[in-house]
């Protein structure tokens, strides 16, 4: 089966296999999912590593992500340019981290980055407010949002600087056994 595909060289497939949590079959299947988003943009021959970048609108229209309120942040975090336009590498990276086999620390790192809206490596109050509004579709009142944010920072902030660093976030994730099963997309 492996010999019939002409999309990647076998070294490329090996490299992808070593760098993600996917097997060869899955990588090829994901490539075809990537290509199906824009068949005219993505060539069938990746041997000379073409610079193809799919715009965010196409990535956000995938059925797995279409209704997810965090899809824009997910695409931004995993894309190289930070705008949500993804190359194949970014695409594979995204689904590899969100797959079943990625370890907890790796998932926690990327979850932290997703919830860090202003990219300052801390989840401060404004990030929390945005997260809450996305989770609840702006259904909470201002007061409720404020109270929830304060309580969350109280609970999770260990070093008392008023915002959540990566260590605080990972510490909190350790208390959540459900995290591994919820931060997971099946593709």
């Amino acid at each position: 089966m492996g010999n019939k595909q002409t999309i990647f060289t076998s070294q490329q497939l090996d490299a992808y296999q070593d760098c993600t949590y996917f097997t060869r079959k899955e990588i090829l299947r994901l490539f075809h999912r990537y290509r199906d988003l824009a068949p005219q943009l993505v060539p069938l021959d990746y041997k000379n590593q073409p610079e193809v970048r799919l715009p965010y609108e196409l990535i956000g229209s995938m059925p797995e992500l279409k209704d997810n309120p965090f899809r824009q942040r997910i695409a931004e975090v995993f894309s190289e340019d930070g705008e949500g336009n993804m190359t194949l590498d970014d695409f594979l990276d995204m689904f590899s981290v969100l797959s079943e086999m990625a370890p907890r620390d790796l998932k926690a790192y990327y979850a932290f980055k997703i919830y860090d809206f202003n990219n300052d490596d801390f989840i401060c109050k404004s990030d929390l407010e945005k997260t809450l509004n996305k989770l609840t579709r702006n259904e909470l009142t201002e007061d409720e949002v404020r109270m929830v944010c304060e309580k969350v920072i109280d609970e999770a902030d260990l070093d008392n600087d008023g915002r959540l660093s990566l260590e605080d976030f990972q510490h909190m994730i350790m208390r959540a056994p459900d995290f591994l099963s919820t931060f997971h997309i099946r593709i």
Binding site: E64, D178, F183
Partner: protein
């Protein structure tokens, strides 16, 4: 000089600063730092309206640039949680930080600028450090570490290529010595090897000793190729062929992780049953089939509905206990047929050992999965408050259908609102609690009354049906036999629904309490009716030993009863799905205006599974092929439930902590389900005398006395058994020593755990202290800078 200035500045500052410092000291360790009910509401409000966007006064807009410079170069703000991640993180030059966002942040503008400068300077040095670290590891370890690095795939490929270049570029260490153990590949460099393996594929013809180019399809992987994927643990990474993977994915996309856990539990039970069936089949059923016993004298009438009732043809088959040989008849069997196993295959011994081994292996697997589950759900740190977890960990990314996503959103919103209202109304104790206490009592009384009524019904039913059915024809007899299992299935499936309806009147503090109470009531019901049934059988057995009733081969009868129970359970479940879920769901959808669907009750269905499995574990002693029946039942149930779920149900509005509940259900499966069945089986094997006219133990007073029988035998193959029985099982000193050893080991582990808990508490306190120090120092720096800088 500067010091005193600072002191003065602090003491003469305005009210805000003092108030904030006080607050910093006041926050108690190990509890919530912002306890809204204890803090002075006016102070808090003043602080909030003074600086509407910050909860903590440390975050102020007007920090001086020198302060920010110091803060941005603090080590904790650029080093990640482990060293490798830190190194790899800073190898990235300008990654994923769009400049448009930077200006909108509050206090990080200059922060970023300094970070990038640091990156560019240390780039090369740190790349080398990453490579050095990776090269020191073995191949598999290297790839594992590479995969776990939080950098992009293109960077990982780059690092990987560098690692391999380094490995290939250096001259080969092992010289070709020509010895027998060395490989020809080591004599060449990687470039030459690559050239050979990427060239044409040639084969040698052994007769002519000539090399010919192979023109057909080259096998993949090429023979002799040392592929990276294979050496680097790719095999272990491959997903195991899992049953029903696609169906489970579909279910999780629509319904999320909670409902998925029911189906995963079903799959787990299936695996246990398959294992038990294999063990029984290989070591007990197959030898018995190949060594069929002498035909017995009992007349096997052709009975109607024999498949459902287990009578007729099945009575004297490998399905039930009565068919199995005791040793004596084997010696008399002189048939000259080809046998798969030797003639002296000791069926009674095999019976005990097979059942024992099956139970033991199931026990080990249950304990293992229980411990893994508990380990996953283990919470070490302070468990006060779940709000942060609710915000960050409750969104199920698997759910992808629009309607399900909307429901999830609404669900989370409702829970957050509930938590917020709890926060603000904590002082108002619910005065209603005392007045509603009697409702709880009433509902419990009704439940216990129902359970007692069912127990009486189950107790008197056999005698009642015996009176009616003694003079009927065979079809009516079959139907009569099915009455008891039908009644039991009705009770165990319908009554919990009734209990749930009753409990809607009650008020509980949290939804999880409600779930636990309903589970307890359900368990009580099922345990009681099963207990009553066992008591009936035991009573009949004791009547038989007193010579009051002729009840031949009671084990087969009990086995048949259990077989009927398992099958009736399946039939009733299917009928219930069709009527209560398909038809009722159709009515609800068409009649209600909002096209509401049913909601899946996970707890009730899982308890049904656990009950069915208990019956199987108890019945395997009397009917060794019962696990096979259970396998068929679970398969059918999966497909019926899945179809019904997709058609009739909507995602639940209630919260379901799936990991916690999965752990709870596995614990329930172990105790009381498995341990109860095991205890019953051991009791039957030990105390209850086997019937003297059928089965492998017909010449013994108790099944376990087989060991004593073997003591007398002089066969060399039995010597080890008799030795084991005499010196290990029958010897109290050995048992005492083993028990004492186990207790000592458990005690030592408990002490170690206690010590570790204390260490964790101390470390937590240390982290908090460091945080306080940091706050203090930041305030001091700011004060210094303000004092020294010209305005």
């Amino acid at each position: 000089m500067a010091a005193s200035q600072v002191m003065e500045t602090i003491s003469s500052e305005d009210e805000d600063q003092e108030m904030i410092e006080l607050e910093a000291i006041r926050s108690p360790y190990g509890a919530a730092k912002f306890d809204l009910t204890h803090a002075n509401p006016e102070d808090l409000e003043a602080q909030h309206y003074h600086e509407p966007k910050h909860t903590n006064a440390l975050h102020r807009n007007n920090w001086s640039s020198s302060t920010q410079r110091v803060l941005s170069s603090m080590p904790s703000r650029s080093i990640r949680f482990n060293q490798l991640t830190a190194l790899s993180r800073s190898t990235v030059t300008c990654r994923r930080r769009p400049l448009s966002d930077v200006s909108t942040t509050n206090c990080t503008t200059e922060h970023d600028v300094f970070r990038e400068q640091d990156d560019c300077e240390n780039d090369v040095a740190q790349k080398e450090e990453v490579l050095n670290k990776l090269q020191g590891l073995s191949a598999g370890e290297c790839m594992r570490v590479l995969r776990e690095m939080p950098i992009s795939v293109s960077e990982k490929r780059q690092i990987r290529a560098w690692v391999f270049c380094w490995a290939a570029g250096q001259p080969c260490v092992h010289r070709y010595k020509g010895a027998s153990g060395s490989s020809a590949v080591c004599a060449f460099t990687m470039d030459q090897v690559e050239e050979a393996f990427n060239g044409r594929y040639r084969e040698v013809n052994r007769e002519t000793q000539q090399w010919y180019t192979y023109n057909h399809l080259v096998p993949e992987p090429r023979p002799g190729a040392v592929l990276c994927g294979w050496c680097y643990g790719r095999v272990s990474q491959q997903k195991s062929i899992q049953l029903w993977q696609g169906a489970l994915r579909n279910i999780s996309a629509h319904f999320g992780t909670g409902v998925l856990s029911y189906f995963i539990f079903l799959r787990r039970l299936l695996i246990y049953n398959i294992l038990f069936f294999l063990i029984n089949g290989l070591f007990l059923v197959l030898p018995q089939i190949s060594n069929p016993p002498l035909p017995k004298n009992i007349h096997t009438t052709t009975a109607d509905l024999w498949m459902l009732t287990g009578m007729g043809v099945l009575t004297d088959s490998v399905m039930f206990y009565g068919h199995y040989d005791n040793n004596i008849s084997i010696y008399n069997n002189f048939k000259n047929v080809t046998k798969w196993c030797p003639e002296n295959y000791n069926i009674p011994l095999a019976y005990i050992f097979t059942i024992g081994a099956g139970m033991f292996i199931t026990c080990v697997m249950l304990v293992y999965s229980m411990s893994k589950s508990i380990g996953r759900g283990f919470r070490v740190f302070k468990t006060t408050g779940n709000l942060a977890l609710k915000v960050f960990c409750s969104w199920d990314f698997k759910v992808s259908k629009k309607w399900s996503v909307k429901l999830q959103s609404v669900n989370i919103c409702t829970q957050l609102k509930e938590m917020v209202s709890e926060l603000s109304c904590r002082k108002q104790k619910r005065n209603l609690c005392s007045t509603l206490g009697w409702i709880h009592f009433l509902v419990w009384f009704i439940c216990i009354f129902c359970i007692a009524a069912c127990m009486l019904a189950v107790y008197h039913l056999p005698s009642y049906t015996d009176q009616i059915c003694s003079k009927a024809n065979s079809f009516q007899k079959a139907v009569c036999l099915l009455k008891l299992p039908l009644v039991m299935s009705c009770i165990s499936q319908l009554l919990p629904g009734f209990f749930d309806m009753l409990s809607t009147v009650e008020h509980y503090d949290s939804p999880s309490t409600r779930i636990y109470v309903s589970i307890v009531r359900n368990l009580l019901l099922k345990g009681c009716i099963f207990g009553i049934l066992c008591y009936c059988w035991f009573e009949q057995h004791s009547c038989r030993t007193k010579g009051l009733i002729t009840w031949q081969c009671w084990e087969t009868l009990v086995g048949q009863e259990l077989y009927r129970l398992v099958l009736m359970d399946l039939l009733f479940a299917i009928v219930y799905i069709i009527i209560a879920e398909f038809l009722w769901g159709l009515c609800i959808r068409n009649i209600t205006f909002r096209r509401k669907k049913l909601e899946f009750d996970i707890a009730r269905d899982v308890l049904e599974l656990i009950y069915g499995q208990t019956l199987v574990w108890f019945g395997v002693l009397f009917s060794p092929l019962l696990p096979a029946v259970q396998i068929g039942k679970l398969f059918l149930l999966f497909y019926f439930k899945k179809t019904s779920l997709m058609t009739n149900f909507q995602p639940s509005k209630k919260t379901w902590r799936s990991t916690q509940m999965s752990t709870f259900f596995i614990k329930l499966l172990f105790f009381p389900s498995f341990t109860g069945a095991l205890a019953c089986v051991i009791y039957v094997m030990w105390r209850v005398g086997p019937s003297s006219d059928c089965g492998p133990f017909s010449n013994l007073h108790s099944m376990l006395l087989l060991g004593k029988e073997c003591q007398g035998s002089s066969k060399p193959s039995m010597l080890w058994l008799s030795w084991t029985y005499k010196y290990l099982v029958n010897n109290p000193i050995f048992l005492f020593i083993t028990a004492a050893l186990f207790f000592t080991i458990i005690y030592i582990y408990m002490q170690v755990l206690d010590g570790q808990k204390m260490i964790i508490v101390r470390l937590q306190k240390q982290i908090e202290n460091e945080g306080e120090d940091k706050k203090f120092l930041i305030a001091k720096i700011q004060a210094l800078n303000e004092a020294s800088a010209p305005q």
